[in-house]
Symmetry: C2
Subunit: 210 residues, 2 copies
């Protein structure tokens, strides 16, 4: 049948692109593709066809063209500097190193942080071949002019610990205090149900490394 | 800061479009958006920026413009009729009613079916307000010219049962046999671990409704 191979190719390409997203496998990608394509097809429901696939496409293009990385901290930005780095009210003495945008946003949403950030876009993972050069790590030392303290706000897991240790070593010869987030009991957590590791580390709050 | 609100709006719009996809919540949508935007931003890794967001956008646009619904069976198609309806080797006497494209593809992948299909694009769900007019159901009766048997290949759950019952009633006055898929032990399933309901229905294979 004329054009049928072309149709398969269009669907396969869409499924392939969706399956490249983190946490989305081949089966989920197919389901999403069928959903979007049937939505954009001629009406089967009284509401008629929606432009959902094209709306998503336009949002992707607009965002990827309109957004870039802040030259200072590698946060998402529309100008050369992100909203936070360009804000004169932020405390330039306190720099918070985070793994990614999601973590930066979580701190912003908490409302309790008034310093600036530095986004690594990943953590060290020797087992998967992720080294310092694969991350936004090398520029950190040149961002320390007014900084008095660097808070390593990384996950309390092996990769987070490895990365924090590496950066702490890297900053040893700089005139900055280096700290990590307090590890301990989360808000609302009940001591009775905490694991031994959390309990053991819960007495210390912010740990000054050097 | 100039343009920062605009940047937030671009990101929020992308997150919003991603969160409209089935099975993708607000948090996953944010994670996907940050992933795609950091990928498309200026290089932080030696590989440099990728065009992943724009590749996905282009795949969406191409597929949604190139694909439509088959006028006969509502399968995805590039021409007026889908590959299956246009194939003269398919058995027009056997029509398989399926919930969606994923189910149609599963039957095609099984390689064991040589008849044609009819895609409902959903199932009846009175509790969520999904009635017959919200599905591709009304045209079924006009698709029965050469059909000898209609197989209702719907899920073995409440919505599938409801939908099968409704269609079976709708077809009562037509000269077609109406059947459902056999419910029973899945291939490789061990009797010892089957639930009572499956065991109870496992003795019947294809159940002729009328």
């Amino acid at each position: 049948v004329q054009g049928s191979g072309q149709g398969e190719a269009l669907i396969e390409r869409l499924v392939g692109e969706l399956a490249r997203l983190p946490g989305i496998g081949q089966r989920t990608a197919s389901r999403l593709a069928y959903f979007l394509l049937t939505r954009s097809c001629a009406a089967i429901s009284p509401q008629g066809a929606t432009r959902q696939a094209e709306d998503l496409a336009q949002a992707l293009v607009d965002a990827s063209r309109g957004i870039r990385l802040c030259v200072t901290c590698a946060n998402l930005a529309v100008a050369e500097q992100c909203r936070i780095c360009a804000d004169p009210r932020r405390d330039r003495g306190l720099l918070c190193v985070v793994e990614g945008i999601a973590e930066l946003r979580a701190f912003e949403a908490s409302g309790g942080y008034r310093g600036i950030y530095y986004v690594l876009h990943g953590v060290l993972n020797p087992l998967e071949g992720v080294g310092p050069d694969d991350l936004n790590m090398t520029h950190l030392c040149s961002r320390l002019r007014d900084v008095e303290e660097v808070v390593l706000a990384l996950n309390a897991d092996v990769e987070g610990d490895t990365t924090a240790l590496y950066i702490a070593k890297m900053l040893r010869d700089h005139e900055v205090r280096v700290s990590r987030l307090a590890t301990g009991i989360p808000m609302g957590g009940e001591l009775e149900y905490m694991d031994a590791g959390t309990l053991a580390r819960a007495l210390t709050e912010r740990r000054v490394l050097h």
